[in-house]
């Protein structure tokens, strides 16, 4: 089996989740990676979703953060207030998985606006749970497609603090816990350098060159001295991932081309019992 770049990214992210780890999971690739880890090397990883589900073991991936599948397979379901207070802020989360529209040289994340905040070029969905995940999880892993417009010198807006201006500026801002430990892209893995906290490429995915990474990065990216190669995804990893995606597509019967159901749905909304 040959993995696509996106599959490699997911597999590499999954590998970073250790057995038994308590992980705060966002929807999309983070959720896919966390569940792949759970279905392969980390069966006892504890997955927490911000919708309030703790210890979820979904058999198919949720399309939304509050999917019923997450509730049914959870050890317990608490209020969203409690998730953010007792569980995330309470220091129970070891790893937070985050995506973003932009990540910069010092691993700051933007999911708010492209352009100026008051008159944005693109209005993005916004912060969600990210600022507190980035501040309170003991460690944050960032997953993002590698692209010059996404890996930028400086984010347009700091939604979630990484290492701010680098060095000890995160600590000086009063952020005690955590911080990003890796940015996983479809080309490589970047990690913050210990002193400067600047993201440097530490690992290249199979078939990816330094030149390609440099070209796709919005700053003059550096490469670690001990740059390593990503191990090719195993057959088990890939087949588990693909089966998970197949089951998910089946369960959600997702087909954006079929719009005939729109009327049906809305009439369901309006129907009342006599």
């Amino acid at each position: 089996m040959v993995a696509t770049p996106s599959e490699v990214m997911t597999v590499v992210a999954a590998r970073m989740l250790q057995e038994g780890t308590v992980c705060f999971v966002g929807i999309g690739i983070p959720s896919k990676a966390a569940n792949l880890a759970r279905l392969t090397h980390a069966p006892n990883a504890v997955l927490i979703y911000e919708s309030g589900t703790i210890g979820t073991r979904p058999t198919v991936l949720p399309l939304s953060i509050g999917d019923g599948e997450l509730a049914v397979t959870a050890d317990t379901v608490v209020s969203t207030s409690e998730i953010f207070s007792y569980w995330l802020q309470g220091g129970r989360v070891e790893v937070g998985f985050l995506g973003a529209a932009q990540v910069d040289r010092y691993a700051n994340l933007n999911s708010t606006v492209i352009g100026n905040y008051q008159a944005p070029k693109v209005r993005l969905p916004g912060a969600g749970g990210a600022p507190e995940i980035a501040a309170q999880a003991k460690e944050t892993l960032i997953i993002i497609n590698h692209d010059r417009r996404k890996l930028v010198e400086k984010v347009d807006f700091i939604t979630s603090a990484g290492y701010l201006d680098g060095g000890d500026s995160r600590e000086r801002a009063g952020l005690k816990a955590g911080g990003p430990t890796a940015v996983i892209t479809d080309l490589c893995v970047l990690r913050p350098e210990s002193q400067t906290r600047e993201l440097v490429v530490t690992q290249l995915h199979p078939g990816v060159t330094r030149e390609r990474v440099a070209e796709a990065t919005g700053w003059d990216v550096r490469f670690a001295k001990d740059l390593s190669q990503t191990q090719v995804p195993s057959d088990l990893e890939l087949s588990t991932l693909r089966e998970l995606e197949r089951q998910t597509a089946l369960a959600h019967s997702i087909d954006a081309e079929d719009k005939t159901h729109l009327n049906r749905i809305d009439s369901k909304t309006e129907v009342t019992r006599p």
């Binding site: 969203t80 708010t112 309170q136 729109l262």
Partner: protein, 275 residues
């Protein structure tokens, strides 16, 4: 049941132009039918409050109900943008709207503070984030014991909170379960609470320590089966993920959106509740 009303009566009587109204439900139990009724009754200048605006606020904003939006994540979950929300923010269509933007955690702290009768709540948050610079509703205080810098956010006390629940009994007690989000908090935070329910039963049969709102804190209960679709009601029906996907194209274009709203919301008969 003393607090039973039809949905159209409940919205007409209890929600006024210019009100601050929260519609909550974290992906689960989103009060779509109530949102549609607000659109049909052409309520205007509303401050809309919701952690995750979702398609329902996209529709309300696109139809011109909103003056202001208080939120923390405004996307189409699992799909992408809310195009009507973006059009309002980026192009001021159908008119400009004000934005009061927080994080999820901050929204829950604001709801919890209001439910607890406090003027503000504390959290660890917003350090190093640009959000605090753009929002005067995020301030910082020092812990009087440790000196640690903590974020403070003001209570959110809407005029009206609207939620959808699985059940009410004939006395008007409400029970919801599954992903309960922040519904109890917003219900207790608001001055008035309207609840649409799937079913009215003789006995709630709620387990000990379940999420129950006693009748005497609920302003009105409306019997609206299917009232959360296309989101879902645990134990009743599933989320219509295809609707959410298809919404992306419907909402992208102003005319297509208007046509769809006319055919599917404006021209439909108001929901009639009744036990």
């Amino acid at each position: 049941m003393s607090n039973l009303l039809t949905l159209s009566d409940a919205i007409r009587i209890h929600l006024h132009h210019g009100d601050c109204v929260a519609l909550e439900g974290f992906t689960h139990l989103i009060p779509f039918a109530a949102g549609h009724e607000i659109i049909r009754q052409e309520k205007r200048d509303l401050t809309l409050v919701r952690m995750t605006p979702d398609v329902i606020f996209d529709q309300m904003i696109g139809m011109g109900c909103a003056k202001r939006l208080v939120f923390s994540w405004g996307g189409n979950p699992g799909v992408g943008s809310l195009h009507r929300l973006r059009d309002a923010v980026e192009k001021h269509f159908p008119h400009p709207i004000e934005i009061d933007e927080r994080s999820h955690a901050a929204m829950t702290v604001s709801y919890t503070a209001a439910a607890a009768g406090l003027p503000c709540g504390l959290m660890r948050g917003f350090l190093g984030s640009d959000l605090a610079q753009h929002n005067p509703n995020i301030k910082f205080i020092d812990c009087p014991f440790t000196g640690e810098r903590l974020a403070a956010v003001p209570a959110i006390r809407p005029d009206v909170a609207i939620i959808h629940a699985q059940r009410a009994d004939r006395a008007g007690n409400v029970h919801l379960w599954g992903i309960i989000g922040v519904q109890k908090e917003i219900a207790l935070a608001a001055k008035k609470v309207l609840v649409t329910v799937e079913e009215i039963v003789d006995d709630l049969e709620a387990p000990s320590n379940a999420c129950v709102l006693p009748a005497w804190v609920v302003t009105a209960v409306c019997h609206v089966p299917g009232g959360a679709a296309p989101s879902y009601a645990h134990g009743y029906y599933d989320r219509d993920n295809r609707f959410y996907q298809a919404w992306d194209e419907v909402s992208r274009d102003r005319d297509t959106f208007q046509r769809w709203m006319r055919d599917n919301v404006m021209d439909t008969v108001s929901v009639r509740g009744g036990a």
